[in-house]
């Protein structure tokens, strides 16, 4: 800060507090709704302070409720989401590390072509080619499997480019030294390159975990049985019946359960996440 302006400083805090209020209010309200009974929420206007039914709502959500005919077990859905997110995050990091290593440290025929093929995938998100990708998945009979939920989303040019960028900044002397000491390429990769990439790996992990956890369109297509729905899909199915019949208290408990794990990851790994986000796009 270049000068003292108490008025402006106060204004800054006021604006930021308003910003936070805007950001937090929907989540707060969901939390409030998750602590009341269904009837209390249906009263207009609904209460805006937490109630006393928190425990039973969350238990009902996690273990499943029979009220609306269809039984939705959030515990199972959270597990599916967790596995999906982990496989996508770890898988992406693993295959991107390997391919970035090949692209940066080796010379091989058609390298340019390979590079461009990976680059092009940056441009076409799953949203624009849903039907044919779905067909491929169905032909490989991978519907309703973890493989079907994760593998098509694992190929990520973003991660490959981030690692490529990072590898290019690693001093050549390290390779020379490693070779002098008789280390082969894989030894160099395992003992030097991967440990050096730790920060990028952490950053990518956060971003990809959230990406995986929050997937919606793809699981909507790739799963048709209840036991393979991730939580984000499950919640949408719970509100599909229209306002009056919806158990809003359970839905909101589910919403809180769905947003807490990624939120924790982001907040705890904030430093890496911010760095990774800003770096990936460079």
């Amino acid at each position: 800060m270049v000068e003292r302006r108490p008025g402006l400083t106060i204004l800054s805090h006021v604006v930021l507090l308003l910003g936070i209020a805007l950001v937090v209010f929907p989540i707060y309200l969901a939390f409030v709704a998750s602590t009341h009974t269904r009837d209390e929420i249906l009263k207009v206007p609904m209460p805006i302070t937490p109630g006393t039914h928190m425990l039973e709502n969350y238990t009902a959500a996690l273990l499943g409720t029979e009220t609306q005919g269809a039984k939705v077990v959030v515990g199972r859905m959270m597990w599916v989401s967790f596995v999906t997110a982990m496989v996508i995050a770890v898988g992406k990091i693993a295959i991107s590390l390997l391919s970035a290593f090949a692209i940066v440290y080796f010379r091989f025929p058609f390298k340019k072509l390979v590079f461009w093929m990976i680059f092009v995938t940056l441009m076409l998100p799953v949203e624009v080619r849903i039907l044919p990708t779905y067909k491929v998945l169905a032909d490989l009979s991978m519907l309703n499997t973890y493989a079907g939920l994760t593998v098509p989303l694992i190929a990520s040019a973003t991660a490959t480019f981030l690692f490529r960028q990072f590898f290019l900044s690693v001093p050549d002397e390290l390779v020379e030294a490693a070779r002098m000491d008789g280390a082969g390429p894989m030894r160099f990769f395992k003992d030097i390159l991967v440990p050096l990439s730790q920060t990028s790996i952490a950053a990518l992990f956060v971003i990809q975990f959230i990406y995986g956890w929050n997937q919606y369109l793809w699981p909507l297509l790739a799963t048709t049985t209840e036991d393979m729905y991730p939580i984000v899909i499950g919640i949408k199915r719970m509100i599909a019946t229209g306002d009056a019949a919806v158990d809003w208290n359970i839905v909101m408990a589910t919403a809180i359960l769905a947003l807490v794990p990624p939120a924790i990851v982001v907040v705890l790994m904030q430093r890496w996440f911010v760095k990774g986000l800003v770096d990936t796009e460079k």
């Binding site: 949203e127 067909k135 020379e176 809003w248 911010v274």
Partner: protein
């Protein structure tokens, strides 16, 4: 860019890139080429035979008023999302850049929407704006605004814009903050010594120097509004009322999986691919020229 020192091996690099290549060939190039091929096919009503029809599907598509409407809605939607999203985050970032204490506190809260799934964001907002039980809808009604996004298309659009902007605030905010913090303090101090107040410094120094960030975010936000908002629309308005909020990605899904119009859906996919490629090219041209400060 190339490394000076390279490893030599005939087979190892192929093994290393094999997993990635296998996945992109099977789940990327194959479906993408299928989309292009299918977009030039027409299936009869019973799905028993297909016929090559060239560009007919595209012609039908662009003569279809529903598709043109979907284009218009998407354009309006992305302008609103990018405009409000960028303006709001810029204001927050400028004030966050000013303060000395509590920065981490504010930042921690402001990045939370990034972690929330678009579909969940949609559910949270639809709950607040639900005409029968929503607390915000109730307040609006009190103030004389009859809120019912199930019937009123403008309100339905407003709802998905609000949910989409909310979700994107974190991302924009972090980039603006990083941009502002990389502006050399000396410039600000010099201007301040010359007697420029905070507003003037913002308008003549910070904002112009932020222009690469702003432009980058503009492209990112348009891409986001075009392609990442399916979940929000699906969880809130389902394209309604009628088809007034059926943005392009929603329509691709709807026509392909609900209406089962394979050729039409594939043609729409191809149109979308062209749009993404165009946007990516714009973005990369900008990256090339990116100002370093």
């Amino acid at each position: 860019m190339e490394k000076r020192v390279l490893f030599r091996s005939g087979w190892l690099p192929w093994v290393l890139i094999a997993p990635q290549m296998a996945i992109i060939l099977v789940f990327f190039f194959w479906p993408a080429s299928q989309a292009i091929w299918q977009s030039m096919q027409m299936e009869d009503a019973f799905g028993t035979s297909t016929e090559f029809v060239g560009l007919d599907n595209f012609k039908t598509l662009f003569e279809d008023p529903a598709y043109i409407d979907s284009f218009k809605v998407t354009a309006l939607f992305s302008v609103l999302v990018a405009g409000f999203g960028i303006a709001l985050s810029l204001v927050l970032a400028v004030f966050a850049d000013r303060i000395l204490r509590g920065g981490l506190f504010y930042k921690t809260f402001l990045i939370i929407p990034y972690a929330v799934a678009p579909a969940i964001a949609g559910v949270l907002w639809v709950f607040m704006f639900s005409p029968s039980i929503g607390i915000v809808a109730y307040a609006l009604n009190k103030w004389g605004v009859a809120w019912n996004h199930v019937l009123n298309s403008d309100q339905a659009l407003a709802l998905i814009v609000v949910a989409a902007v909310w979700k994107q605030i974190s991302y924009n905010f972090l980039f603006f903050l990083a941009g502002l913090q990389s502006i050399p303090k000396a410039l600000i101090e010099a201007a301040s010594i010359d007697g420029a107040g905070p507003l003037r410094r913002f308008l003549t120094i910070q904002f112009p120097l932020l222009s690469p960030t702003t432009f980058f975010l503009l492209v990112i936000n348009v891409v986001y509004a075009f392609f990442d908002t399916f979940a929000i629309v699906h969880a809130t308005t389902e394209g309604g009322p009628g088809r007034d909020t059926a943005i392009l990605v929603y329509k691709v899904w709807h026509d392909g999986f609900r209406a089962l119009d394979l050729g039409g859906s594939a043609a729409q996919s191809v149109v979308l691919m062209v749009i993404v490629v165009a946007l990516t090219v714009i973005q990369f041209r900008y990256v090339e020229k990116k100002v370093q400060y």
